[in-house]
């Protein structure tokens, strides 16, 4: 490990937060490098010196001013009990909307297997539909417009078939 490589690990080594591998690497380097050893000693002395940093006390009215500002904060109204959590309220609203949407969908049971009564109704009129006499005399059918006869498609000039 070179001197420039040790720099980032030196602080962690000195404040005893380096892991065992980092510690061993730094110790190996320090054992053979007097300059880094000196620098490490100066860092230790620096931390001792930094303890001499002046300390101030909050002013006597500090707590009172914080309390005053906190008290001036708007309190949650009675409706806050109804909406304890915005996320929960949103989730409930989405669930409600989903429920309404599903309720308005067409009844899917109608597309499913026919019920016994529906089967009976279908069979009940089957004999009438199969009776040709009844169908011929059914007035409602005569009012239907007659289907046009299919027209032959005129041949185009380019469509001529040659037997050459």
């Amino acid at each position: 490990m070179k001197c420039e490589d040790i720099s980032n690990e030196l602080i962690a080594y000195l404040d005893r937060r380096a892991n065992s591998a980092e510690r061993r690497a730094v110790e190996d380097h320090l054992a053979g490098c007097a300059a880094c050893r000196e620098r490490a000693e100066e860092f230790r002395a620096l931390w001792g010196a930094l303890d001499g940093m002046p300390v101030i006390e909050p002013s006597p009215g500090f707590d009172a001013r914080v309390r005053q500002r906190v008290t001036a904060e708007p309190r949650p109204g009675w409706f806050a009990w109804l909406v304890p959590q915005p996320r929960l309220a949103f989730s409930l609203a989405m669930l409600l909307a989903l429920g309404v949407w599903m309720a308005r969908l067409p009844n899917r049971a109608g597309y499913g297997a026919p019920t016994e009564q529906e089967d009976f109704n279908a069979i009940k009129d089957l004999g009438v539909l199969e009776n040709y006499e009844v169908l011929m005399k059914f007035d409602a059918l005569s009012e239907l417009p007659a289907a046009p006869a299919p027209q032959p498609v005129p041949r185009q000039q380019g469509d001529q078939i040659t037997n050459d």
Binding site: S7, A35, L46, M53
Partner: protein, 202 residues
Amino acid sequence: MTRSDVQLMLDVKAGDEASFEFLLRKYRSPLVNFLYRMVRDEATAEDLAQEVFLRVYRARKQYSPSAKFTTWFFRIATNLALNSVRDNRYRKREVPLDAPAEEDAPPFELPTREMRIDEHMAERDRAEFIRRAVAALPEKQRAAVLLHKYEEMDYGEIAKILDCSESALKSLLFRAYETLRVQLAPLVVQPAAHRAGEGRPS
């Protein structure tokens, strides 16, 4: 039984005002000192500290203990301090050219590395010497040193607060301490006799 900070904050969330009072008493002094060392002005530091407590109170309903309380708390404080320092720097740039000279603190001569500290140097001068050396660090380095040295936070916490990786933080801290080692040389330099024949780092 002593409640943890996270538990206290959860109690505040549940509406217990006494727990907020407890957090206020516990953290007012470290917070004001941290902010004072960041912004270099007592009145501004107290204003910002009040703002931090107010933000904690406002955010109580959304609080979730995903990290240590101090990480969250000092992250709010650090962001406010960094914004204040940057705003203040910007305002100072807007001073008109014909304005009188800045009446900040009087110039403080930092001793050279060779200068021996006077044994009779008053304790107050020594403290002021240290305070100014720390205050002269770039703001992010300053925040890193304050959280590392004075709040004794681990690297993971500080990295989260400063929004950087742990390796970037180690590099930041090394540069900061290296600057302080040079600036505060009269307080930290080894006696010449011990250094005889030894070179500087390669």
